[in-house]
């Protein structure tokens, strides 16, 4: 038997999640200048996917939820069902800031922040964009 104590992996989680957040911020800077840049879109997708998966593993439900919403957004963008508008990118920028705040809360051993309103905001802009593009 090999049991896993997630607490042991918290420093690793904080380090790798922060790396992916920085990567997202760099890709977002590129997308704000060139919203269809395929490499930046792919990097956003993979980074969001990673943050979601790691957060799931560690039991950080809020970060998992927002990571999942961002993952979906950028998968839809990769598949060309969504075009990144200025308002979507503004939402993504806000989402990455809130993820940063959530990581800070986790680091301080306080409760995660409530990211549900941000998830709902992203889902709303995704719905509008998909309706417009279909």
């Amino acid at each position: 038997m090999s049991t896993v104590d997630p607490a042991k992996y918290k420093p690793l989680y904080l380090k790798t999640a922060a790396e992916y957040l920085r990567k997202m911020q760099r890709s977002l800077n590129i997308l704000q200048k060139s919203s269809s840049d395929p490499e930046a879109i792919d990097d956003m997708y993979i980074s969001a996917h990673s943050i979601k998966s790691q957060s799931t593993a560690m039991g950080y439900i809020q970060a998992e939820s927002l990571g999942s919403a961002l993952e979906f957004l950028f998968l839809e963008t990769k598949e060309k069902r969504i075009v990144l508008t200025k308002s979507i990118l503004t939402g993504v920028s806000k989402a990455t800031s809130q993820l940063q705040n959530d990581l800070s809360a986790i680091q301080k051993n306080t409760a995660e922040i409530d990211l549900l309103p941000m998830v709902q905001e992203l889902e709303h802009v995704i719905d509008i964009s998909e309706t417009y593009n279909n």
């Binding site: 049991t3 790798t16 998966s53």
Partner: protein
């Protein structure tokens, strides 16, 4: 037993490499599909743990390349799945993966069981 982990996510890369080495496995790690194929040819693993969503070459393309490579096609592959991507797992099984394990659950015992099942045949 030699295991090659092909996984771009640094958290899971480190977690699974550490846990597998604790259990006595010899582990090598690749960070994307292209590196994974190269290391498979050099390292000659007994098993490949393969992530699906990766940069450069994803898990599906790696499975396709493995199935077409006489040197690699006999190596069993277990794919890492995550919640919400169950369709990806089905596609991976159709491309030749022998099984899957949900990496987000950190259920290392489930992984060990799958490794034993797959490598005893």
């Amino acid at each position: 037993m030699k295991i090659l982990t092909v996984e771009d996510d640094h958290f899971f890369q480190k977690f699974y490499a550490e846990k597998l080495r604790e259990q006595g496995f010899t582990v090598d790690v690749a960070s994307d599909g292209e590196e994974g194929l190269q290391k498979a040819r050099e390292f000659h693993p007994d098993l490949i743990l393969l992530d699906i969503i990766m940069p450069k070459k994803d898990g599906f393309d790696v499975l396709t390349d493995i199935s077409q490579d006489p040197q690699l096609k006999s190596i069993p592959v277990l794919v890492f799945s995550t919640l919400g991507l169950e369709n990806d797992v089905q596609k991976a099984l159709q491309l030749g993966a022998r099984g899957f394990v949900n990496k987000s659950l950190l259920d290392f015992n489930a992984l060990l069981t799958k490794i034993q099942e797959i490598t005893k045949h």
